[in-house]
Symmetry: C2
Subunit: 340 residues, 2 copies
Amino acid sequence: MRGVIMHAPGDVRVEEREDPTIEQPTDAIIRVEAACICGSDLWPYRGIEPVNGPTPMGHEYVGIVEQVGDEVTTVKVGDFVVGSFFASDNTCEICRAGYQSRCVHAVGMGSLGTQAELLRVPLADGTLVATPSAPTPEQIPGLLAASDVLGTGWFAAVAAEAGPGKTVAVVGDGAVGLLGILAAKQLGAERIIAMSRHADRQALARTFGATDVVEERGDAGVAKIKELTGGLGAHSVIEAVGTQESMMQAIRSTRPGGHVGYVGVSHDVELPGLELFFSGVHLHGGPAPVRRFLPELIGLIMHGAIDPGAVFDLTLPLEDADEGYRAMDERRAIKVLLTV
Amino acid sequence: MRGVIMHAPGDVRVEEREDPTIEQPTDAIIRVEAACICGSDLWPYRGIEPVNGPTPMGHEYVGIVEQVGDEVTTVKVGDFVVGSFFASDNTCEICRAGYQSRCVHAVGMGSLGTQAELLRVPLADGTLVATPSAPTPEQIPGLLAASDVLGTGWFAAVAAEAGPGKTVAVVGDGAVGLLGILAAKQLGAERIIAMSRHADRQALARTFGATDVVEERGDAGVAKIKELTGGLGAHSVIEAVGTQESMMQAIRSTRPGGHVGYVGVSHDVELPGLELFFSGVHLHGGPAPVRRFLPELIGLIMHGAIDPGAVFDLTLPLEDADEGYRAMDERRAIKVLLTV
């Protein structure tokens, strides 16, 4: 089969890979219908994370079940399925508490490389959720978004306790931040402040439900959020970047007793204890337990209540994955969908 | 009047201070019945925080209202009252959300010095809670504890979401940690693990509701908590120390999706972002909004449901405050009550 391999920073190729096979009776093999390129794929692409030899890429996916192991009971051949970027058994104590991304048997899908024609999904019963019927072509991008960026933005909004009567600020205007806005809107937030200085992203933010846009960053951005919230700060802040500046911007934009939901993978971040203490905020985040939200998100997408697929502004065939990486690296694209 | 003044690290004296007077129509003057020495008073005593000239000391207090300003309506002369270490209006948006320690008009009582015969309490209506009847002498230590250490331990347990079915670990065996155990027990926790290596504190921990004691610290302490919780970590962890080691011990002892309630004032603490991200815990803490809990705590104490006063293991007259500071500094006493 064909699949994306990263050989070194900036060097992404589509090559022949061995077809995956059922290794455990709990595995399924799916024929990938669409995959995508994640902001986190740019860390190794930019050399910020090491590339240790040729590495299969991708952790987001939707597809059709082609084969199942003997113990798989909840999905069957022919089902259209969505999974998260962590395979999880969905039965352990951590999964049952809603933290499937930290399942005691979790397998990172990134290690399997979903930017490919075929994919082995471990713990298929716990990991995959079948759509109630075959999706239309228009629904596929939304379902693919549910696999990570939507699920992650949704988790951030839930972690930030976005809801009725709340003012929500969103730090980061990438796909996750934008879908955090969509999530906050769905969860009933009263006011949603997008922090963005790019016209195209501001427009999408407003489409997804942003009521205000703040272009300032850092201390100036914090001051602006305070100004918009009677000097108190937002009730809920979504952090979707993962840098020292963005984390501090998020914490400082939150009122005492408010909630920060952070999903940007923290790189070189050190949180100062005394400032955090006196901020009085709630801090929750980490790798999003997307599986918790998949049934609800699939329902919303299939019923047309939300259109998270709008976040994909460039669609390319799998064979052109290298151009997709370049477009995201150069910020010419917010999020790239790869058709398989 | 007589009052405690710190002149320099290790130099605490009881001296004549000017009697406080009503300065604002929202003030009350109370005759202090009992005050106490806080673990945080030891930071300047030990020279870890600077002492900028002679400083009135103390922020915990119970007493009888002696005089009220023209606008005070909820307490009257003769009432026995308890207040928290922050004066708060209890009407602003932050107070109404339950974060009175971060009231937009908050006044730190430490700046007024409660280790004294008389005390001016700003924002008396918002700050003071009168007991339903005059307390017995046996109830006074408990009510005094409610002013800070009990209220702080209670907040930590609430922030850690201690409750039915939960395993709660407590890092720190000072007065706050011990009363965090009492709070977790009252909140219905199933299992409470005290982390302590002092026999007297272990005994008090068990009296307050600890079901297990772990003597190990740091990585060994974390390993022990994991061992006691099926490898997962505790659901809820109370942090009541405020050092880098204790914060990391608390975070690492918590299962993914679990809750850390931290109330130790963080000194020289830097939380590593990537580890915090992958821990998947909820982190909440800061200066405890004790006022939120006072009505409930006073009720429990007056009805004899809890006896937090047991945390005071040394009682001295105000005039002997210097000996009280020494006893706490040398860890000969857990918590010192000063009778006035």
